[in-house]
Symmetry: C2
Subunit: 313 residues, 2 copies
């Protein structure tokens, strides 16, 4: 195994993402030691029990002497956590995060910054619908994109810090890209935030239809609905924060979505089969592009065979 | 292996569903012989090459002497195909289908009926986003629901026919339910038709955003979008027919969906975090009900581990 990229990392927030970073850093030798802190005492106890790394009872103890601090808390908590973390950090070390909205994250980090620390916001395009320390696993970031949104600081020190953080994520198996904050938030609004909102919404709609019983919705969910419920099972706090902090980009996508949906609705009402064929055929082409780009598997009946259990490590 | 349920079955339409019935009937010994016909000569050639069963060049030859005929064509083609099939069938045998809209299917079968044949519409709640003869596999129906919508004929012969068809699907591993046509179409509108429409729509919206490049949408699709593209890759002809023939139930669901979405949109615009939390938390409960009902797996990172290939038999 090559030398660790950081001799000590601190992870604040031991949920799905924090626990996955802890496991991956250990598994791939990316950090000499891993120290975690979580606001929630139960989470700390659980993190100790399942052996995620050293777990401290204060934020300050976790952060002390760390070369790099990873904030893995909901986006809405970033400002407070960053403000508490920075004073306890050693000069010249790195503060990064994994928040799904980079505008808010960058603002939170910048506000907390005192000029001694390298601030490098980041976002792994990897996750599951589960949350909490038990949900973490070492291979989560393998072959996934990791987006960094560095500031425009061009000092040699800052660029070296970005390079080191890049190396860390690569060691975890990720492919690293840099991007500006606004672009990130626009791209993720359509590829992640809108899909989640739609999934949350359709689940609510299904359960409020008085003409169909809830038991029937559950029973016959294999016709498509169950795929939406998987996405809609994601952490409510995390997603509330995403929508509250990426409001403009999400509302823009939502406006487009509703406009397009109204056109499909009209085609159905007036029996315009040609328009439906055109739209549905286009969707198939796009699916092919995603499989060709290695972003999904084209295997038949993907993961749904009852005799196959995915390897969860 | 127990005795076959039917000594000969005929399958009209050798696509995903037809090919899966052919493979399953052979694998589980549910039919003594399987004969297929497809309108498309290329499909017939392919069906022969991959050994789905005997393949005939005319509809009449396939149907002759069959105990049960399965119409596995798009819903919009059912009326024509049924009208051609019935005169070639032996008296007292069964005509069924697998169409996703039972109102239309029942009407098509009834119109074609000449009083000699038992008409029993059906719908397997199982499928994938793929189509064509190569997409079929024997385990598709295992542990899946199969809905039959028998007529109100209470003659002993008809009831015996329904029982035999039930036995056939059970032999393929399915759990069989009966339901009335209108209820089926209402339940499926929300559990299957609306989810597909939404998936088709979001894919179109994503690709029409000028503010984001298509390449970026593909690249970062793992954030949620890719799950929608899987559903949206489904056969355009099949889905056009579904929306044209289950119009009222789909429009009803769509109206509700848009109303609910407008409320979420308003909550985002005005920063109403409590309302978002409430809705998102509810969605999580529903997901749990689906996993408890055995309709999905709760395994972490379901099927997405690059090192796991689902067993496609
Ligand atoms: N889930 C995904 O798919 C995904 C993907 C990419 C990025 N992200 C981002 O990753 C971050 C974490 O998400 P996650 O999925 O790992 O969530 P999670 O499993 O819910 O974990 C978050 C953890 O942070 C703790 N926490 C909350 N506020 C805190 C604070 N002020 N100080 C210390 N700890 C605090 C939570 O404790 P409690 O027990 O009190 O809640 C929880 O243990 C979010 O910013 C999210 O946007 C998530
Ligand atoms: N896919 C699913 O997930 C699913 C699930 C449950 C039920 N269903 C229902 O199953 C039925 C078949 O769907 P599928 O997914 O199997 O579609 P598919 O893979 O596209 O197969 C349909 C086959 O029927 C052929 N066909 C079309 N019109 C015909 C005609 N007039 N006479 C004879 N053959 C004809 C098609 O030939 P071409 O090559 O010319 O198109 C194609 O080979 C549909 O009614 C659908 O609603 C589908």
């Amino acid at each position: 195994m090559p030398d660790p990229v950081f001799s000590k990392i601190a992870i604040i927030g031991a949920g799905l993402i924090g626990a996955s970073i802890a496991r991956a850093a250990a598994e791939y030798g990316a950090a000499g030691s891993v120290v975690l802190y979580d606001m929630d005492a139960d989470v700390r106890t659980r993190a100790r029990t399942i052996g995620l790394g050293e777990v401290t009872d204060t934020l300050e103890a976790a952060v002390a002497e760390a070369d790099c601090v990873f904030l893995c808390v909901p986006v809405g908590a970033l400002a407070t956590v960053a403000a508490n973390v920075v004073p306890a950090m050693t000069s010249g070390t790195i503060l990064t995060d994994v928040g799904s909205v980079k505008g808010e994250a960058a603002a939170a980090l910048t506000a907390a910054g005192d000029g001694r620390i390298h601030l490098i916001p980041g976002h792994p395009i990897a996750g599951t619908e589960q949350s909490g320390p038990d949900a973490g696993f070492a291979t989560l970031f393998r072959d996934a994109w990791h987006i960094l949104t560095p500031s425009d600081d061009t000092s040699a020190d800052y660029l070296a810090a970005v390079e080191r953080l890049t190396l860390f994520w690569q060691r975890l198996g990720a492919k690293v890209e840099t991007m500006d904050v606004a672009r990130h938030d626009r791209v993720l609004a359509i590829t992640s935030h809108l899909p989640h909102l739609i999934a949350f919404n359709i689940v609510a709609t299904a359960f409020d239809m008085e003409t169909v019983e809830q038991g029937e919705v559950v029973k016959y969910s294999a016709g498509g609905f169950r795929d939406f419920t998987r996405i809609a099972a994601s952490d409510p706090v995390m997603w509330r924060d995403v929508f509250l902090t990426n409001k403009d980009a999400v509302l823009e996508c939502l406006g487009r979505f509703s406009e397009d949906l109204a056109a499909l609705q009209r085609a159905i009402r007036w029996g315009d089969g040609d328009m439906l064929m055109r739209e549905f055929t286009r969707a198939r082409t796009i699916r092919k592009a995603i499989i060709d780009a290695g972003q999904d598997s084209g295997a038949i009946n993907f993961g749904r065979n009852p005799n196959v259990e995915p390897d969860t490590e």
